[in-house]
Amino acid sequence: MVVNDLIPLGLVLLSVAVAVVIFPLPQRLARLRSTVNLVGAVTKLVLVMLLVPPVVADGARPEFAVPFLPAGGGEAISLVLRVDPLALFFAGLSAVLWLLTTIYAIGYLKGTAYQSRFFGFFSLCVAATVGISFSGNLITFLVFYELLTLVTYPLVAHWGDEKSLKAARLYMRYALGGGVALLVGVVWLTMEAGPADFAEGGAADVAEFAAGSPTVAVIIFALLVGGLGVKSALVPLHSWLPAAMVAPAPVSALLHAVAVVKAGVFGIVRVVDDVYGIEVAWELGVLTPLLVVASITIIYGSYQALRQTEIKRRLAYSTVSQVSYVVLGVTMFSMAGTAGGVVHLVHQGIMKITLFFCAGLFAESMGAHKISDLRGAGRRMPWTSAAFTVGAFGMIGLPPTAGFISKWQLGLGALDSPHPWVLVVLVVSSLLNAAYFLPVVYNLWFGEKKNEQENDDADAPAIAHEREQVPERVHEPGPLLVPALCTAGFTLIVGLAASLPFSPLEIAQFIAEGVFS
């Protein structure tokens, strides 16, 4: 296959084009809107999949560059879109999940207002994510990162009520604050070491600069990671994330699995591995503090998740915790650890999106928002409950799910690294994960609907009684259920087939080898 340099640009513009077509569509043309959406999503998925063999196996690096910012006297700084294995890894995740989330969202929002606006911004959000994944230097990354902030705002505020706007405002405040810190870091680094093109093993200019003035390099690193840490919800910069749960379920799913939170973590991986380079970062002594922050985030997030009684909030705190596994992996300074962190980018995405899809299904079909509402749901919504169970087992890290592969790999990395104590963090966190997910699963399958009489209307006790005897099946809408089952299936397949060629784990190991080369 001929790999054209325009492919990365085309992939970004594809989602933009979908948005441009969708925005002016009147509300009533639902079928046309869905068709445009799905055609765009499928095309993107196919293109990304076709890129995998040439980029991973043959080492092709399609690159598109256009001059963007004038630099005083020197060469202009360019916007660079380049496909490398890590970029493809992230783009592949976003392509798969975009398709599934679109299907889900079409079902979820059926009959509600402002759909053209929603799907328009949804596509722009994906465009920004693709841009982030293909960014070839820090400036390009920054451009798409800020774009992501802007286009997710209308999505979080979608319902337009007081609560949504408040959450969206909080999100905006955090994200822009982080964006400014990141901008300052990027400006400074660019002044000191040039535009910092991403390179496997770190940019040469940056390494030279770090050797010359280590203190400044550390400050810039702190600014960059601090700015990125807001989106990736590192403690103590995480509180926007649970608040943003008021958004429609597909938005939460996208935010947690691939878009916002992941963009932050992906940025941290890029900064550590491809800008500074892991060796340089290790010598600067910045990895260990970040590792500690990640460990604290993992434990604290799990602890907070345990305290929540609402399903979506529990999932939100679980994201805070789970996403930091990625940071943990790339900062523990071992090849297996880096592979574990990178592969968790994808694994966490598919597992968490399963859980969010299911949470949305429970809320839509049974009106269940609290964990106690889920008692006995296993008999009423068996398929959804099964998918949720798979996702939850994945989060705990039970074999044969994807989560097990991640944790196994991270554990190997920890033993291999200068910080064996990380293993304790992993074990404690897994116990906490089990502590907050197993009761939910237990409720689903073995819980009795004890409070039925109190909850139901006064004039319907007889029906309620009847329902308790023979649990009534609740309709699980197809467009919502199928994506959830797909991602649950992926969770299992990825876990079982981890050693096959082009599996996420194999690609992650390939990337980790590049990092340590």
Partner: protein, 505 residues
Amino acid sequence: MTWTQFSLGALVLLPMLGAAVAMLLPHRGRRVLGVGTAVVIAALTVPVLVTVTAGELTELVLGGFDAPLGIHLRGDGLAAVFLGATSLVGLILTSYAAVLPKSTGTYLSSTAWVPGHPGFWPLWLGCWSGLNAVYLSGDLFNLYVALELVGLTAVALVALGGRSSWEPALRYLFIAVLGSLMFLAGVGLLASVTGTLDLQQTRQALEELDDPTLSLLALTLMTMGLGMKIALLPMHRWLVPAHSSAPGVVSPILSGLVIKAALVVLLRCWLWAVPVLPGAEWLTWLLGGLGAAAVVIGSVLALRQDRLKPLVAYSTVAQIGYWFLAFPLLLPGENDDAALASGAYSAVIALALGHALAKAGLFTAAGFLKDRCGTDEIEALRGAGAHHPTLILAMGLCAVGLLGLPISLGFTGKWQLATAAVAAEHWWLILVLGAGTLLSAAYLLRGIAPLLMQAEVDDDAPAANPVTIRERVGEFAVLALGVATLATGLLGVWLSDLLEVGSWW
């Protein structure tokens, strides 16, 4: 005479001619004439941009009288980029005004106030002629005359807004005249020393001068006069009532274009007419400090507004601050290199041009909502977005430009300013830029977010007052400004290349 030279002359004279002809026509004819003139002006800008892109400077001496006596037009990089931006914004706003005449003000017929003021057309075309003359003028006196033309037509444009706008217009008139007088006094002082008004000759004469006191005094006077016209804090009080009470399409002209004319004159004085003066250091620091104060105070005041148009007007006060922030970096000192100064200069231009597009769009949108809903109180506009998705999208795009987020000229400008600040180790500048960005996010959200809310009463208002085709077209005009805000963000490198042509260094 080449095409480009012809264009230089025509860019000044054609709108003037249009203004004169417009006075003779009925209202409808004026609208057609206005759009036609705008299209021709935009077409005339193209050869100038092409020539400057090729790296050539175009000069035209009207009537064959050479400097120091004649009228001397200079098409350099600075002129070209401002001509380009003005033609783009002017064309869009002219079309908007032609489609929605009620945005041009109200006039008192024998019995009642009637929306749509025919006086807008000659005034606006006259103002446009003045703007082009400011960009192209090569000598101080012509700069003064052109600036005066812009200022007086702008005052008259404000007054088109009906009775409530007369008082702000009068106040604006006082400031405009006072500012012009101070500028003229400075010009007179310089001319008394140098014996010439031509920019280059003035500079040569001043470089040979031993005692910088007089030129410093002249520079200070000119700067104060122009500072008033630009509305630099603390001389900003006139701007908010004038810009917010002006008719719907006039506010964007004032905020987007008119204050830029004074900025261009200021840059011409500082960078072209006057060489680096030994005592001017403190003045640059004063301007930088006032700029920082404007960014912070203007944003905080914007945050406290309950009405949309004053909010946008205060945002202009804040954005003006950014242009002055760069002043301490603008003059190459003993140890700073020239690349730094040129970077800061290019940053100011990028910020000003980005502001011209974005603010014109946002003000037009605010005026649109005010014309349509009868009020611009933010509370009353809740949920207005439901019926105007295009408009809200356009406002969002303009907000990106004002925030200085990528991709926009606002971002390019901030980037250049920040890199220059890092290179010169002026860390306070980074702090101001960061604080300004966050504060502007806060006030823009305050202005735009309520429009996204779901209206409390959903059914009666839209049915009674459906959106007309003309209004739809108007919305797309605003969208064009929003899209231009983003699209120009990719032109940063071209822009800084253009500015090299005929620059002072």
